[in-house]
């Protein structure tokens, strides 16, 4: 699987628009007529019990409809390897597969103010997401999400120091497929569920030499669900390294869960974290190319 995907990614690699961070977003849009392809790879690991590894793959195409408005479409896939981990209502058993198509995502971004010209850059971002696999367990699950975020960006030191701030929410409708041979007493609700997630993110990135940025980002997410109220909350933070060239860029980010709460599973080894829908850490690599 890795070899195939490496060839796939290598074929894409080479280009440049700024996604300086792994998780938080900047406010700038592509110029009119510009196109870019991004490959995202997110490695998620460790739920504090058993063995858990997952990789989210996303291949995204973005187009500058106007100098202020860009649209994107992404195909997503999932790899998962979980063993010896049972989380009631979430992870019903071992699962392992290498690479499965999991859904698609459409995004729109409109820039109201530009950070290079105005006191602060501001943009609205909308995304519409469909998943057919549960990213936590790898089981079949239909999920529809609509997300909206306000993105802010500010340049300092002639653009060498960049701050971004995000605030947004995501509404989700999800329905799980039935599973045969569930463990005795295991709860696996198949009624539709509605969730609302709020997120607040910030990041600071500094160009320390030409083409290279080093940064740090943090993200607070909390999710509310009809039955349990606040289902989860997490604080993630970590460093990011970005290279931007004339034709391509790459960003590598490490994101560790610093604190979390809400629902927890009894086997987890750290009760200061939320390890049901999140992991202890993530590593994200993005590569983009323009053409």
């Amino acid at each position: 699987m890795t070899v195939t995907a490496t060839v796939y990614l290598t074929a894409l690699a080479v280009r440049a628009d700024e996604q300086l961070f792994g998780y938080v977003k900047g406010s700038e849009t592509l110029p009119k007529g510009a196109s870019e392809i991004y490959q995202w790879i997110t490695y998620r690991a460790d739920k504090g019990a058993g063995h858990y590894e997952a990789i989210d793959w996303k291949t995204e195409f973005e187009y500058g409809v106007s100098d202020r408005f860009s649209a994107s479409l992404a195909l997503k896939s999932l790899s998962i390897d979980t063993r010896g981990l049972l989380v009631d209502g979430y992870v019903p058993g071992d699962k392992k597969f290498g690479f499965r198509f999991s859904g698609f995502e459409a995004g729109l971004k409109y820039s109201f103010l530009q950070p290079a010209k105005d006191p602060i850059g501001l943009a609205m971002y909308w995304s519409f997401d469909y998943d057919m696999l549960d990213p936590h367990s790898g089981q079949d699950k239909d999920t529809l999400s609509a997300e909206m975020q306000l993105l802010a960006q500010k340049y300092f030191l002639d653009g060498r120091l960049i701050w971004v701030g995000n605030i947004g929410y995501e509404a989700t409708y999800a329905k799980r497929a039935e599973i045969a041979n569930l463990p005795v007493g295991f709860d696996w609700p198949t009624d539709p569920e509605m969730e609302l997630e709020l997120k607040f993110g910030t990041g600071l990135s500094y160009r320390f030499v030409q083409n290279w940025y080093i940064g740090a980002e943090a993200l607070y997410e909390t999710e509310f669900e009809t039955e349990v109220g606040q289902e989860r909350w997490t604080w993630f933070a970590g460093p990011s390294l970005h290279y931007g060239g004339k034709r391509w860029w790459a960003t590598l980010a490490y994101f560790a869960q610093l604190a979390g709460g809400g629902e927890q599973h009894p086997a987890q080894d750290d009760f200061n974290l939320h390890l049901i829908e999140k992991t202890k850490y993530e590593i994200r690599l993005k590569v983009g190319l323009n053409f």
Binding site: A16, Q210, I283
Partner: protein
């Protein structure tokens, strides 16, 4: 984790690929473009003290990054034609190398983009956009979307070249004015 290491190794290989710049002018060709009638360009590089850098910053409102400036005095035989200054401003990823020519009375005679390495924003080479600066002198407002039109999609480069002109007009006023 083994998968991750393999993926991390990939960008390292990609990063090793060289970046390239588009060179539109050498110093000599830019000098000729700015002062075609000149017979001599005498190097007159300037080293700035901290006080001088601060004075230029205060006068222009633009940060001065470097303490030296590459300057030539353009003459036709013994007649002073003006100043030719090579400068760098910050682009999205790398520096934009450009040149400013000032006439003998300190007005902008020409703006030339010498090297451009960015993905977007190359429209700043457009002659009409650069022509907006012609005749501007020290004290001009030089503000994007005010007396200098912005090029949508090239805002970052427009902003920094505009700021660069403003800074060099202050540099001229403080350091070169005769």
């Amino acid at each position: 984790m083994r998968n991750v290491i393999q993926w991390v190794a990939l960008p390292a290989l990609v990063v090793a690929a060289p970046c390239y710049a588009t060179v539109y002018h050498t110093v000599e060709s830019a000098q000729q473009a700015c002062f075609p009638e000149a017979t001599q360009f005498a190097s007159a590089g300037v080293k700035l003290s901290k006080e001088q850098m601060r004075a230029i910053e205060k006068d222009s409102g633009v940060r001065v990054r470097l303490d030296s400036q590459r300057v030539w005095r353009a003459t036709k035989n013994a007649e002073f034609l003006g100043w030719f200054i090579v400068d760098e401003v910050i682009g999205k990823h790398e520096f934009i190398t450009w040149a400013l020519a000032l006439s003998a009375d300190g007005g902008v005679q020409s703006v030339e983009v010498m090297e451009y390495r960015e993905t977007y924003g190359y429209q700043i080479r457009n002659a009409d956009w650069r022509a907006q600066f012609l005749g501007k002198k020290h004290g001009a407002k030089l503000k994007l979307d005010d007396d200098v039109k912005n090029i949508s999609g090239a805002t970052f480069s427009c902003r920094h070249i505009t700021d660069g002109v403003k800074r060099l007009l202050s540099f001229h006023d403080i350091m070169l004015k005769q």
